[in-house]
């Protein structure tokens, strides 16, 4: 749907390869793209302004690291600034030394509070807690039923007083009830309310003052637009929430609201919730959302990983050998191992921008296939690895037995290798990519 930001930046900074510094003009052009990308991602326009100014200031005249292209260098700065706003580590809940720890959920209608209650309960169970829930939404038809149904499916007790009671009383009684039942965490569901609805905002303010929750979590839809800032500020003023649960993260919204809320309230995003199944709930990783907002995949971590992992010297030797067309099974094995050091192939694919995660779901990359290839190569003698042409029928049989494989697979690998060798010969006569990793799609 969106042209990926890396492509746009690429266009804006085209022809810069080989330059040692980002010039003011480059930065202006790139900053414009960043500004548009952030606005498309629903980051509040005032936050965008401040952010882009800051990035510009840092990027003007910045040195471009030798191993990066200007685009990558710029993205690196953007990402660092984004991460600086979002915070670098996920922040956990506060648990009271005197149970029950009280967690109150607040938010607009339809942001997913009740579902989030169920998910949080399940999450807490997996952390060894014994949660209970309070049905404090007396306004929305059947909200109480919804929480009770969730409670039943999780085997978590739910306290309710029907829909005629006062939510402040319900919460107060709920805490007493949880204490008597010996539950160590109590999650209070509240009705969805508009941040400008004074009566209802006063109501949660009262609940807050009455039960004094240890954690107040604002439930925020990841699809929220510019208004997220108003919502967050109003809830902050009335209840001083401690953190945010970002919901509906399984959609394709960029979630720029997370950045806005963090920037204007300083409150961390604590959890990310996706899907309607109760186990799709986890601590929020600020660094991940930074690249999601920008639509960059995890291109940066890919860059970093590649820098760290690939041994530059080995890569150069390989290049030399390729040029001389003496690509052997040893090189092949080496290359596989280099790439695998960076993680599983499927996770690497997920990091490459331009491949939407939805498409990856259908695509099964079998990491075991690489294990088999490795086993076959390792069953060859050094002589065989250097001169694959000597591998005859009986050698094939031996190799297959050694690798716990069959002759068919050995043949297949030999054929593939021949093709790779041929390809390398052709490449060897021309220009080779600086490192073998580039063959896997590093967009430099």
């Amino acid at each position: 749907m969106f042209e990926s930001l890396s492509d746009k930046l690429q266009g804006a900074l085209d022809g810069l390869k080989g330059q040692g510094k980002l010039t003011d003009k480059d930065v202006e052009r790139a900053a414009r793209e960043i500004r548009l990308a952030l606005l498309e991602a629903d980051v509040n326009f005032k936050v965008v302004k401040q952010f882009v100014d800051k990035v510009k200031e840092r990027a003007m005249g910045a040195e471009v690291l030798e191993s990066l292209t200007p685009v990558q260098q710029f993205v690196k700065i953007v990402n660092e600034e984004l991460t600086a706003i979002m915070g670098s580590a996920s922040t956990k809940l506060t648990f009271s030394p005197r149970p029950p720890t009280i967690i109150m959920m607040v938010g607009l209608q339809g942001s997913g509070k009740t579902t989030a209650c169920g998910k949080l309960a399940k999450f807490l169970i997996s952390e060894g807690k014994s949660p209970a829930m309070v049905a404090g939404d007396v306004y929305r038809p059947a909200a109480i039923d919804q929480l009770k149904t969730l409670g039943e499916s999780l085997n978590v007790p739910v306290y309710d007083e029907g829909d005629k009671a006062d939510p402040v009383d319900i919460a107060k009684h709920g805490v007493e009830w949880a204490r008597q039942k010996g539950r160590d965490v109590l999650i209070i569901d509240t009705a969805g309310r508009l941040h400008i609805d004074e009566k209802l905002m006063d109501e949660i303010h009262h609940i807050r003052n009455t039960v004094k929750p240890h954690n107040i979590l604002l439930v925020l839809d990841a699809m929220t637009g510019q208004d997220a800032v108003n919502v967050a500020l109003q809830f902050q003023e009335k209840v001083q929430f401690d953190g945010v649960i970002l919901t509906k993260m399984d959609g394709d919204a960029r979630g720029g609201a997370a950045l806005s809320v963090r920037a204007v309230t300083g409150k961390p995003i604590k959890f990310a919730s996706s899907g309607e199944k109760l186990d799709n709930f986890e601590y929020f990783h600020p660094d991940r959302v930074a690249s999601r907002i920008l639509g960059m995949g995890d291109v940066l971590s890919l860059i970093e990983k590649a820098e760290k992992t690939i041994d530059q010297k080995k890569a150069r030797e390989l290049e030399q050998r390729l040029r001389k067309s003496t690509f052997t099974f040893d090189d092949f094995l080496d290359q596989i191992q280099q790439v695998r050091k960076m993680g599983s192939i499927s996770s690497l694919l997920g990091m490459i921008p331009g491949i939407p995660s939805a498409k990856l779901k259908g695509l099964q990359v079998d990491d075991k296939a690489f294990d088999k290839i490795q086993a076959v190569i390792q069953s060859m003698t050094p002589e065989e690895r250097r001169h694959p042409e000597i591998i005859n029928g009986s050698r094939r049989k031996r190799i297959a037995a050694g690798a716990g494989s069959d002759i068919h697979q050995v043949n297949q690998l030999l054929n593939q290798f021949k093709q790779v060798q041929k390809m390398m010969k052709q490449l060897g006569s021309g220009r080779m990519p600086k490192n073998p990793f580039q063959m896997f799609g590093n967009p430099s």
């Binding site: 749907m1 548009l36 606005l39 498309e40 991602a41 629903d42 326009f45 607009l108 209608q109 339809g110 942001s111 997913g112 306004y139 929305r140 038809p141 059947a142 909200a143 039923d145 919804q146 009770k148 149904t149 969730l150 499916s153 508009l194 941040h195 400008i196 009566k199 839809d221 699809m223 929220t224 637009g225 510019q226 208004d227 997220a228 108003n230 919502v231 509906k248 399984d250 959609g251 394709d252 919204a253 960029r254 720029g256 609201a257 309607e276 939805a358």
Partner: protein
């Protein structure tokens, strides 16, 4: 202000529904009165703002301010650019001469960017079938309650179908609305096949001579391929019984939604060919500008706006009013 709701529905005899008297609202002067007050204030602010920034001169600062107002309202970049370019062209050609002219044209051009198709809801069939779709939490079930209530006030007999068999207590929620409105609700057990409930619902409507069948569906993200396929199946099942149905497929969009709303609408349009949008939760501070982007870029009319949780909190959509409200405080403030 009471609307002539027979103008809102095709196939309904002339009758008005008086806006109910709400004590709470009367104290505050009523929602619409409040809106009008606010609008008057912001109109003034808007003009003052313009007068002060430009002295009858249109410079980049001014266009940027307008752009920001649109972006701030979630209108999105493409539609914003389209509006501002048109105004700039008119200013260059001399068609817009002063700040008053600009304010007027700004509102007109914005209103013109909405799809101009018929905004009425077609219930001139027996039974008429309305299918409600949308992502989770956008207000489908609540909107159904409101539409049903209005139809009932206009002398139509609605029947509700609990097609959300997935979310915990969704059936109960719709049943509650049914009893508030005083109409029948066809439902199955939770976890059942939505297509089967829908089939039974239409059969029941035909047997009982209901006028309008309103079908609730589970909230789904447009990225969930299987659920979107399920929606297509529901539409097919409806057609099996009534080939020209559903007569209306209404998509609910939450006014607080950002740019993702456009993608949502596009995917729903592809799957079930939506005939209109209901913009919900317009009683908050969100401007709902995403509706403009959706209407403009996908050529779908916005038909209704939701303004609260009460049965009567539903309004026919008016592009001119919307444009007025859109530029409320955002230009006057900064």
């Amino acid at each position: 202000m009471s609307h002539n709701w027979s103008d809102v529905f095709i196939g309904v005899e002339g009758r008005t529904i008086p806006d109910p008297v709400d004590v709470e609202q009367q104290k505050r002067g009523g929602w619409l009165a409040q809106l009008r007050d606010g609008l008057a204030k912001s109109r003034k602010a808007l003009q003052q703002q313009f007068a002060s920034v430009m002295f009858d001169r249109f410079d980049d600062d001014l266009w940027e301010k307008i752009e920001e107002a649109l972006i701030y309202a979630d209108v999105g970049i493409d539609t914003t650019v389209s509006i501002v370019e048109k105004l700039e062209a008119e200013a260059d050609s001399g068609a817009i001469k002063d700040s008053t002219g600009l304010v007027t044209r700004l509102r007109e051009v914005t209103a013109e960017h909405f799809c101009q198709d018929d905004r009425r809801i077609d219930v001139a069939h027996t039974p008429a079938v309305i299918l409600m779709v949308g992502v989770n939490g956008t207000g489908k079930t609540t909107t159904i309650g409101k539409i049903a209530w209005h139809l009932k006030q206009l002398g139509k007999e609605p029947l509700l179908v609990a097609g959300d068999t997935f979310r915990a207590a969704a059936v109960e929620q719709l049943s509650e609305w049914g009893s508030r409105v005083g109409c029948e609700v066809v439902k199955h057990e939770r976890g059942g096949d939505p297509a089967a409930v829908v089939y039974d619902g239409i059969a029941a409507a035909e047997a009982r001579k209901a006028d309008v069948v309103i079908i609730d569906t589970a909230g789904r993200l447009h990225t969930q391929v299987n659920l979107m396929k399920e929606l297509e199946k529901v539409a097919r099942v409806i057609k099996k019984r009534i080939p020209e149905a559903p007569h209306e497929v209404l998509l609910t969009i939450d006014a607080t939604t950002g740019q993702n709303g456009l993608i949502q609408a596009r995917m729903f349009k592809e799957a079930v060919d939506i005939t209109g949008v209901v913009l919900t939760k317009m009683d908050g501070t969100a401007k709902g500008g995403i509706a403009l982007a959706v209407s403009h870029e996908l050529d779908v009319p916005i038909k209704l706006i939701g303004t609260g949780e009460k049965l009567e909190s539903l309004q026919p959509f008016d592009p001119a009013e919307f444009a007025l409200e859109l530029f409320g405080e955002s230009l006057g403030r900064s």
